[in-house]
Assembly symmetry: C2
Homo-oligomer: 225 residues x 2
DNA sequence: TAGATTGTTAATCGATTAACAATC
DNA sequence: TAGATTGTTAATCGATTAACAATC
């Protein structure tokens, strides 16, 4: 179940990125974006550590996997580090994403806007409810979910956000995969069965809140990340 | 930064639960709920493993921390295991939760319904926009975020879901903590600074999607959980 | 009994922290 | 130079897997 370690395609050079390190890259990147906007030139591992809730040793370890980007005594050049992480995460290549399930959650995500800054374009919203088809959702118009094949072909999307009810999720996923989707961000509280070559990430909101409640009850403190 | 290991208060007996094991409990529970509803009496570690995307050895290890609940040759009694996990996660004690930020995402979560089954009641929705105050949101009526103190006192909530824009998140969190909130589920793409005794869990949707895109590009396969 | 499956210990693996020389 | 901070190796820690006797 644990991902096999594998070389990162676009990596400048240097060592392997652990699975956990990879999870932290977007967090570092968010901070770097803010620092770049503010015109800051260098950032220390200590500062990035505070932003990510990690130790500074860990930050240095993570970043050393991208190459020798830092300058002893000064820190890491913001722009260079930003570019290196963006390259690893493939942001330069703008990627089309489709969203299936135009309920409140789907609508929230379409309007969220945070995707564009990360190289991801929501190019189509689909829904199975004929009543919703044709209605606006953000800047887009809701399309018929039964036409997912056409939409995927037209947009070239390989990623999908799935915000349909739990009982509809597996069928929807099957359809998406059948038509070429290779990565699914699943908001339905259901474990999807997909072919080996398809990646799935699960966002289970109630599980998160339940664990938070547990942490709270048991007196656990601090960032429960 | 890593949570200190600590004895679980309501634990029947038995060993310590690792942080990762704790994360898996809600997943097991979801499956157990379904099995119980179907009238199944016993479930094997193999079946739970398939549902959770873990190995069956790991499932047995996790569950052994709850006590010797299984029967060799038969499996785990569904009802007993269900009750044990619910007790650990504190579901029996229904907990009030408030939600701050009644945009699309907040509305989606209020209407989501999956919380109730997990012992969590969304008892109030708040928003800072005077235009929204007084309007309905699911079964509730939106209240004024500036009155968070009164609401928290009235409802006794110690948990909050934060679905406000990123730039408003820290101020909102400060206010909530000031009025007694001790756990925050944060959807804003911002690292919150909170006192040590407050727990925060972050749900960063665009980071998840970005990582998914990365997995996809780099040809990584399978459940990227 | 034979087959299945648990609970637990030991072995492995991966990730984090500690330490420190090298460098600005 | 002195102080700060990186990059990297070794030590520690925690989590997962493997193995197997005990039990239904």
């Amino acid at each position: 179940m644990i991902s096999r370690q594998r070389d990162v395609p676009g990596a400048t050079s240097a060592g392997p990125l652990s699975r956990r390190a990879l999870d932290r890259l977007p967090v570092y990147l968010r901070r770097l974006n803010a620092l770049a906007a503010a015109g800051t030139e260098y950032v220390s591992s200590t500062e990035l550590a505070a932003a990510a809730g990690a130790s500074r040793d860990l930050v240095r370890k993570d970043l050393s996997a991208l190459g020798q980007l830092g300058r002893p005594g000064k820190g890491y050049p913001v722009g260079v580090l930003e570019a290196a992480i963006e390259q690893i995460l493939g942001i330069s290549t703008h990627q089309p994403v489709i969203l299936v399930g135009a309920g409140h959650l789907g609508t929230a995500l379409v309007q969220y806007g945070g995707f564009a800054a990360r190289g991801l374009d929501v190019v189509s919203v689909l829904d199975a409810d004929p009543q919703r088809v044709g209605q606006p959702c953000g800047q887009l118009t809701i399309e018929d979910a039964s036409r997912a094949g056409e939409v995927i072909e037209r947009t070239g999307a390989r990623l999908a956000i799935l915000t349909v009810p739990g009982e509809a999720a597996q069928l929807a996923a099957d359809d998406l995969v059948h038509h070429g989707i290779r990565g699914i961000l699943n908001f339905a509280p259901v474990e999807l069965e997909v072919p080996e070559e398809v990646s799935v990430r699960v966002v289970d909101v109630s599980a998160e809140l339940q664990l938070l409640a547990f942490h709270h009850i048991s007196g656990e403190a601090g960032s429960a990340r």
